[in-house]
Symmetry: D2
Subunit: 334 residues, 4 copies
């Protein structure tokens, strides 16, 4: 939808370095765009998904996705949701409004909390801690035990909290954030792994230009965006029925504003299965019929490798058998 | 309960006469089986649907349908439901359990009520009237006006009431029944057309051996029988959703016992549209997938010629467009 | 709806005998009406449900129910459905259209098939057998083994078949019917218990004048009749949702014509549970709100004593707790 | 992503000033907390909702809501969603996880876009414009017409873009942001009201400590948070049915992570109507029964004053009549 030059403020030095192809190498490494700078959480995800790739740090998520569209990168690795903070709406919106890209893989990256402070600060010195409320909640035991007298101030994000601590004259002594932020903002880890739970994760996806889909593995996920034809009561229920009637479970649903007035939304759906499978294809075609627009974002192996339970009558064989039966009935061969 | 048992022995002579093919005729008339004997309501339906046909009166409805299967008749005309007394269950069960036949047409035949008595009886003589309670209800005004002092006794069917009146030593003076019964049971019409409402009808269908279906007309009906895979709670709801999710209205639903224990049923459905239409075919294929058995009984023009309202996204064009979209998405041509 | 004198053709001798109260007896026996004459299947049901009762045989089912309304009988025992032949529609319609009565109990009575013939007939003599197609199907093995050469002719009911055999000059030699019919029509049992399956049953209900309901037992059934407000597409789905949203399983659904034009139906529902239970009461109240009329036919112990599985959140406790929560919320006591 | 972190340290002076109660005044003004500092969009909302109130600027949204809980303020005005950028998740999460507060009113505040630059900058000088992609999209026509050669760079928020422009040595010349940001960051408005559409709005709500709810007005909205009992397939569909079966339209649905593992969500629902109304209360009680927790956030007049269409059978009168009917049926007074 918007073809702006998202990358224009990435320092050219950084870009050229990242996309630099080593000489005398016959199989050039693919280039992967990500939310820079180097050292971020996104880069860690990229390293886990594509160890051989050359990283292309970008100024923001739309810019990373635009780098794929423009051909500057073969792929991008972008965050989609976090088990604490929810959807990464800028990613969702870029999928919905930007030029079409396909998700070809996903990764669940554990999130760690560390107490970050400026160089020289020690635990005993810390009087004012800043972080996102969810992170504060997650580290409640650590705070009660180690910093019972500290004032704890909420911030809008853990990264923002780290940045605030790093600023000269900051009123804060420490931030709770992921350790990667220490490196990014020049802070030190005063304490590591301080969360009460260890299972916080961020879900990243790999996006590529449209092309052949990953093969079905039996444990796949499919992502779509659906815009309602008209925002009538019951429209959401109708969309969900397109999935449920084919025995397909949704694994995620997000509403986003359509941008033309409060109270009007479109939806991101993740569901079990691969569009190559009959039940998923049929549900998406059904969704396509009743919606103003369905944007297919991809079918790709699930990071958790969970195989869905196929409800009776919804296997590919059942669909094929039903299609053959229908052909016979239409021919009067009852 | 039983309107049909009076026909239990059609003399074989009658049958051979009816199926008799005149010699020296180049275009032989088709033979149509029906619930005999000659002069019944079913024959009237046959005459309305196929004026040129040669009638083959049969001992009962299963026999009429069997005459089609055996090739003795090209088609049969059988009653399916009546707006007063409901489903003709013997017809429903013959469709479900007998060898496959196809419905190729339907007819709505108005039902008329007459007051029938034995020869010589006059209105003033009538003291005891017998009929089906629904018929009594339908003729309330006539009875109040013309026979205010008569005792009115309920019977199990209008035909049975007429037969009862005809029997020697009958305690009844008159029956309310369709005029055809006068002829059948040797009674006379003391009063005609005595119903308060004039819109009582019986729905008849024409059945034939499996073969090419009638062409879609835009105002069609489709009939199926569906046996559940397992009789779990919510199974009926699931079946209805297969129709509703494709925007198809049901025009009739009947439950019938599966014959293997009380509380177990199968279903007859009539819905709008023709199986050749995408939304109907898709719904039936969906039903086929989730059911133990779906028996397709036919798609045929509606007698009332009502054209269904096509819900947005369920036209043939919408299905074709969605299939093409799905093909592109599966190929990654987003 | 109709207040006709249904009982007028019951011989007065029979009536007076049945309702005759013995003198000098401190606890008079209750009088139960049933579909007579004596010796029918309905009487067997009555004997099983109320061994002490004095039976009042009636000319037909509406008459039996009318005898309760008029006070002539304390209760009636009437058939509601049969696992082979389905609903007893005259009973259903009498519940729907007649003056209100309540079901207070049910009974499942096994159905037996015998081969009945006129006195003096032996198995070897039988050449023509008549019965209802379902009964014929149920006795297929017996017929193939014992009467391989007999012609088998379908009839509309087993009772009608027995009556036809009993008539002088009948073209039939034997009927397949329940043994009770032997007695009724003066036939003899040439062979007993000839069905392939032994589980065919008829469901009877006891009906009484409105009054206190039977206490909930934890294994109850509730019966209602529902007339649609307007017969719009999706109306049946809406009614089913009133049950499903409260976790209530339907055990039976029957459509019946509303009598004002083909294609218009009302519904009989049987569901699990007792109206005194919160989830059932709430569902019925919901049905009442969306329907033109809901007629409550009763809550009574199930003959099979099956206890329903209570879905989480639908127990009486859950409803009470939710009501209390709602009260607090409405008061702002969050 | 984060529009709020710029507020991380509100000088304590400012807070005390705001909550300062003038002496010698008999009717003390209520204190309203808001996302400070003075001059923000939130303050404009507060002024519109409560012109007489004394404002208490807070460091962030949780702090504003906490000020209400602690009694420091009588109410807070906080943003809930924006028609361009969607849900304000920090507000949603504070409602879900913080101590209970009640929404007692809402306001839709139009969003305006201005082109903001540092003092002395003129339109002709602007070569690099920064803003949120949605804002860029909204101002496409202005940019094409007035700044055809400018490079346009995406930012995570409009406020963040303004802040970036204000920083010494910024690589950006201008930001597209709401005019209020000019004041906040010491920028000037080079062009006003430059959006293609004029209907972008932010929805604010007033929150108070639990207490009596606003009276129903006939045009109300109700907000709840629902946590699933167990995250089974179909759970969302079940929740939506609790609303749809009572004829209640949802006006907003948001999923948020439960914070205990990716793929687990809870839901924010806004629906039509007031909890004092029978259909709304009944739906919420139903939701309460099937959910692990339902948090009632309030029923309050809709800012748009739209009166919902009451579906037949769901008015208060219909509920009252059904309750009375149920009472009679339970007593056997059919």
């Amino acid at each position: 939808m918007d073809t702006l030059d998202h990358m224009s403020n990435v320092p050219s030095r950084e870009r050229s370095r990242s996309s630099d192809v080593p000489e005398g190498q016959d199989a050039p490494k693919p280039t992967y765009a990500y939310l820079g700078p180097e050292g971020t959480f996104s880069e860690a995800a990229l390293r886990a998904m594509a160890p051989e790739a050359r990283g292309l740090p970008c100024v923001n998520i739309p810019a990373a996705m635009e780098a794929v569209r423009s051909g500057e990168a073969e792929a991008a690795v972008v965050p989609l949701e976090n088990s604490l903070e929810g959807a990464i709406t800028v990613t969702l919106d870029e999928f919905a409004w930007g030029e079409h890209l396909l998700i070809t893989g996903e990764l669940l990256l554990p999130v760690q909390f560390s107490l970050l402070a400026r160089e020289g600060m020690e635990l005993g010195d810390i009087k004012r801690v800043v972080s996102h409320p969810a992170a504060i909640t997650q580290c409640r035991n650590f705070l009660a035990r180690e910093l019972p007298d500290a004032v704890v101030i909420p911030a809008a994000s853990t990264a923002g909290a780290a940045r605030d601590v790093s600023e000269p004259g900051s009123p804060f002594d420490a931030a709770i954030a992921d350790p990667i932020a220490a490196e990014v903002y020049g802070l030190v880890e005063v304490a590591k792994n301080i969360g009460d739970r260890k299972d916080t994760v961020t879900r990243f996806v790999r996006v590529e230009r449209p092309g052949p889909l990953p093969e079905p593995t039996g444990a796949d996920r499919t992502s779509v965006v659906a815009f309602l034809k008209d925002d009538h009561p019951g429209a959401l229920l109708e969309m969900l029925h397109e999935f449920s009637v084919r025995g397909i479970n949704l694994t995620r649903i997000e509403s986003r504003p359509t941008r033309d007035g409060i109270g009007r939304y479109f939806f991101h759906f993740d569901c079990e299965g691969h569009i190559a499978e009959a039940r998923v294809g049929d549900a998406l075609a059904g969704l396509h019929r009743i919606c103003a627009e369905v944007r297919f974002l991809g079918s790709y192996p699930r990071a958790d490798a969970v195989q869905p339970k196929i409800k009776p009558g919804t296997s590919d064989e059942a669909f094929a058998e039903a299609a053959e039966w229908l052909r016979r009935m239409r021919a009067g061969q009852v």
